[in-house]
């Protein structure tokens, strides 16, 4: 083996090891979900008789589909709402910037640096008084606000890459601002909009802090579903694992199906 092949081999091996370390907890969780409770806490073995008992019990205790449906509603709902608000904002920032545009963008990003727990009490009280506690509407609002800075930023960078001339040509052709956005801007930046949307869906799906604090039963999404299995009577590893597996499965499949779109969107503009 010559040095360069060796080097590549070493780097490859290292990458695989790191990837495996990162992936291992997920792998172990999926595995544990197919064990019995006794096997789960006893010897950590790879050899056992897989069983679906845990899944059956989990489903008996709580209706998975109801939580999953809540997750779908809040993640897609908040993403849609965020896009509806962010597309016009990013349009105006990218194409009609003022002296304060840069500052506004930085301020928006700075709100992401504040720990969410810092505003938990005011938001909780606000939700309590407006009847938004434990409602999907409430979660959609919180997730939209949570993701809006990132969504606007991403769209802004995608829009900025679009030659201004094209929109001006549209204006000469008689397009109103809305038509400009619908017929020219959106189709031309679709990969970017799509990847922004996908990211927003994933972030909302995985969000746990707000969903645990603002929901109990009616609007609880899958993150709350997982948490409900760490009960005061003790931890049931197999059931917890089974629940977790079911909670992350949809978003994993979703991410896997859309990864091409995601990568294309995130590198959009970089390789024109």
């Amino acid at each position: 083996m010559n040095p360069s092949t060796l080097k590549r081999f070493a780097i490859g091996l290292l990458a695989w090891v790191i990837a495996f370390i990162i992936f291992f907890p997920i792998f172990w969780m999926v595995l544990t979900g197919f064990k019995t409770e006794v096997e789960a806490v006893s010897d950590p073995s790879l050899i056992f008789t897989p069983t679906l008992d845990s899944y059956a019990e989990v489903q008996q205790r709580a209706d998975y589909f109801k939580f999953a449906w809540n997750s779908v509603i809040v993640s897609f709902g908040s993403t849609l709402l965020a896009l509806i608000i962010a597309i016009p904002s990013a349009y105006s920032m990218a194409f009609l910037p003022t002296k304060r545009t840069k500052g506004t963008l930085l301020w928006m990003l700075s709100t992401k640096m504040l720990p969410p727990v810092g505003v938990l009490v005011p938001i909780y009280l606000l939700f309590r008084d407006t009847g938004l506690l434990d409602t999907c509407t409430g979660l959609v609002i919180v997730y939209t606000l949570m993701n809006l800075p990132i969504v606007v930023w991403m769209l802004y960078t995608f829009f900025k890459d679009l030659p201004k001339d094209i929109l001006e040509a549209g204006r000469m052709d008689g397009a109103s601002t809305l038509q400009e956005v619908l017929y020219l801007l959106m189709p031309l930046t679709l990969p970017g909009i799509a990847s922004t949307g996908l990211l927003s869906v994933i972030l909302s799906w995985n969000e746990a802090f707000w969903s645990l604090n603002l929901t109990t039963s009616q609007a609880a999404p899958l993150t709350a579903y997982i948490a409900s299995f760490s009960s005061p009577e003790g931890l049931f590893w197999a059931k917890l694992s089974a629940a977790s597996t079911m909670a992350i499965a949809p978003i994993l499949v979703f991410g896997w199906l859309t990864q091409k779109q995601m990568v294309r969107g995130l590198t959009f503009g970089a390789v024109k």
Partner: protein, 382 residues
């Protein structure tokens, strides 16, 4: 009918004065070219006419109607962009028909109009293609087609040929001239290339630093530049400027002493010149003749043979001078040559850059492209 008037149009971006009060009149069916170095404000002026940029002050009047506060689409103009600005996600047909689609024109009518324009530009075979499957020249034609479909009162072109290679540029230049004739439309064209301006324009507007330096037919600008800037900008190779000593002025012109010490009477109006005035002689390279008895001499530094003509870069005592001579001359680098010029070919510029007015107008100054083509058309102009 499509006319345009600019009345004291001003554009400021913050403290930057981009356009400093432009007055201009564009007649119906005229081909007007805005020309000037980069940053002179020519594109901004065009964008203001288009409505893509607002005017800080002044009036933009199209067909007698003030258009300052009217949106780009309602002004009845069409614009061809330097980058073509085609819609990448639409076919050629959809690109050309987009304005009609927005205007709610029926699909069949749209198709007819697009086909008409496609025929004029020989684009019929490309209607189903996307812009990225077209060559530069084809994209350019689609951009023009998109403008034609709108049936505008005035066509605006923003450096439309600058992204094409040299050969294609010449071809498109001819095509645009033909199109102007065929469509019989008013056109305003922005370029930094004085050859495009000279070859296509009925009227050239020379801009510098946001101000109009001169407006006139190509031959007027060439033979009677109003100032040193226009004289240097129009014509290629660029005009030579030599410092000369003012002797006297009378009804026959101004007597000056050339760098070599010989005298020359240039037929320009020097009535207002004070004794000892500092003057500069402007003489175009193509108006210098090799002449063994000529009043000036110098040593050849560089020779550029173009076949039909030869450019000689000659070192004189005061600096370099360019001489365009016959293509067949046998001179070599290092030769000393003598040359002269016919006095009426000379221009004299005062210290402030303004040209002294010629005593005789050049007979071709009234000629523009329209007059070149058909005498009947020329009545409107000049």
């Amino acid at each position: 009918m499509a006319t345009l008037q600019l009345k004291n149009v001003i554009k400021e971006f913050g403290d930057t004065h981009v356009i400093k009060g432009v007055d201009l009149e564009v007649k119906d069916r005229e081909f007007v070219v805005f020309v000037g170095p980069s940053g002179c404000g020519k594109s901004t002026l065009l964008r203001m006419i288009a409505g893509l940029e607002s005017a800080t002050d002044g009036d933009i009047v199209i067909d007698g109607k003030r258009m300052n506060d009217i949106g780009p689409a309602e002004r009845g103009l069409a614009m061809v962009f330097q980058s073509y600005a085609l819609y990448p996600h639409m076919t050629v047909e959809d690109n050309m028909g987009f304005s009609l689609r927005l205007a709610g024109v029926s699909k069949s009518e749209r198709k007819d109009k697009v086909l008409d324009a496609a025929r004029i530009l020989q684009l019929e075979n490309l209607l189903d293609r996307k812009p990225k499957a077209l060559s530069g020249g084809q994209r350019q034609r689609v951009a023009i087609g998109r403008a034609i479909v709108r049936n505008p009162s005035i066509f605006l072109f923003d450096e439309p040929l600058s992204n094409l290679d040299a050969a294609l540029r010449v071809q498109m230049r001819v095509e645009l001239a033909r199109l102007h004739e065929e469509l019989d439309a008013t056109m305003i064209y922005v370029t930094h290339d004085q050859i495009e301006a000279m070859t296509m324009a009925d009227k050239i507007v020379v801009l510098q630093g946001g101000e109009v330096e001169q407006v006139g037919s190509p031959m007027e600008l060439y033979h009677h530049p109003r100032n040193r800037f226009v004289a240097g900008f129009i014509g290629s190779p660029t005009m030579n400027f030599l410092p000369v000593d003012f002797q006297d002025a009378n009804a026959d012109g101004v007597q000056v002493t050339l760098p070599g010490g010989q005298g020359c009477r240039v037929p320009v109006n020097g009535e207002e010149l004070a004794a000892g005035a500092s003057l500069e002689l402007g003489i175009r390279p193509e108006h210098l003749n090799l002449d063994d008895n000529g009043p000036m001499s110098g040593k050849i530094q560089v020779i550029e043979r173009l076949g039909g003509a030869t450019s000689l870069y000659v070192q004189m005592d005061h600096g370099m001078i360019t001489v365009v001579a016959d293509g067949d001359i046998e001179h070599k680098v290092g030769d000393t040559i003598r040359f002269g010029f016919e006095p009426f070919r000379g221009h004299l510029f005062r210290e402030d850059g303004l040209a002294l007015e010629s005593l005789q107008r050049h007979p071709l100054t009234a000629i523009n492209r329209q007059a070149n083509r058909a005498p009947a058309d020329s009545g409107d102009d000049q």
